[in-house]
Amino acid sequence: MEHRQRIEEQLKKQFDEKIRSVTTDLGDIVIQVQKESVAEVLGFLKHKPQDYSMLLDLTCVDNKGKKPRFEMVYHIFSLSKNHRLRIKCRVPEQDLKVESLCSLWKNANWLEREVYDMFGIQFSGHPDLRRLFMYHGFEGYPLRKDYPLRKRQPKIRLRK
């Protein structure tokens, strides 16, 4: 609880209304951030004295039918404090651009390529935004809720 207050104070002081909310969910601190400032907030948290130096995970959730539709989820970890944070930002369907984290963390490169591959989120500032798991020429974004489970797109056409 104390930890949460400290982080909330720091962030509110630095970013004011760019931070939408700070809550606790099942023992994890969840910070909702405005989309435009997500890289800025993560950069602030990465460096000392906050020292959340490790990007544990980066993924996306498709809340189809809700507005805004997508939600980016970042998990960052501080080795010195042994503490984990979850940062979230909402991404509307009309504007799928999110700032890339490649300049902060090197593993963001592949993680963002994966999210681009699976959800079609565009990361601005990414050096090499291509599909990671699917092949070049694959149509659609498989992890979106409107992509059918059994849809097949074989690279070589199947024999009838």
Binding site: L26, L55, L56, K106, Y135, P142, L143
Partner: protein, 440 residues
Amino acid sequence: MTTRLQKEARKESLMINMGPSHPAMHGTIRIMLELDGEKVRNSEVEVGYLHRGFEKTCENKTYFNLLPYTDRLNYVSPLINNVGYVMTLEKLMDVTVPERAQYIRVIMSELSRISDHLTALAAMTMECGAFTVFLYYIKAREEIWKVIEKTTGARMTTSYIRIGGVRCDLHPDFKKDVDRAMKVTRDVLKDVKGLLDKNKIWIDRTRDVAVVSPDMAVNYGFTGPCLRASGVKYDVRKARPYLIYDKLDWVVPLGENGDNFDRYMVRMKEMEQSLRMVEQCIEQIPEAVPEAKGEINPHEAIKAARTQKPDEEIRLSPNLKGSEKEKYPTILSDKYGVKVPPKEDTYTTMEGLIQHFKFFMKGHGIRPPKGEVYFSVEGGSGELGYYIVSDGSDRPYRLHLRGPCFHIVSALEEMIKGHYIADVIPTFGSTNMIGGELDR
């Protein structure tokens, strides 16, 4: 399509494809290399050959049904994957697990970790030409898998750890069997140490090859033995202890340079720590419920249930030893609706049958509350995290896996840069890339 590497390459360089099907690539992965003589100038790693839509599949399966899929992520340590998934769900649903089941989970996790490290090192050493060592390692792994098979009923795809506990109790001779397996493993580790630790060829091949500095390791999100080889002390079991890891006495081995040799050394030392942990668990584990006698087959049980007297119990022979009704309180949580009801009840009582149907019927079964949760355990090659979003239905709205080797393999391009082509393979081996977990 021209790749990034082709665009960046110099005209006079030699371009070589390693993989996707290459005898030294354990798993299908393609490494494109730009060579200057035998030196790697630049490279590009292409993954996704084993992508089978794990996350998409899980989002269309019930929480109980998707458990076997988690076995197939890291197929040399499936039990840790089970533990990770199951504990994430337990955190979301607030389930407490009986103490004996917690000990069993730790024993199984540690045995899996040993088999994982043995496999990783076996591949790595073999690729450097140490075929004897490979055979020794595989011999030890075989002994461990025998123990796992006897308890869980399967060697690799076990699905043994269940929501709320474990599938069944340890088999009666477990202590004897595991002692034997541990003795063989200890002997193998001793032999391998004698063969490799001061072996000039081995040291020349691995020392100062693919050095990863602590900063680089953290920046790439390394976890597990690869991070600790660089000298960063982070182990999920120590940092945020789960199950009963805080009751055990063990240390986190660390490396110094972060080269291939350190990654080998850290894994060797970790196996010793894991063996220590298993020993302590066997000392501390609470007593099991004694074996019951006089069991009958399911079809006989159904017949007997028709003329059953109210105070009479019908004993059913379980399809896996140790999963009898009497054992349930010590191996599975008493929370209603998270576990499959005992087979004795299903076959012989009306309520049991209804419970059974309710558990497996579409739209019923395990329905965690709305919310989202992230939980991680220490897997064979690092922090194995699950992120689950639940919308209150019987299947996950979103399930995301943080595979440890994903982050490590993404650093491979930088690790092999400037080294000889012969070093690519052992470096790749030292990352312990597992296709199932990387490509999902």
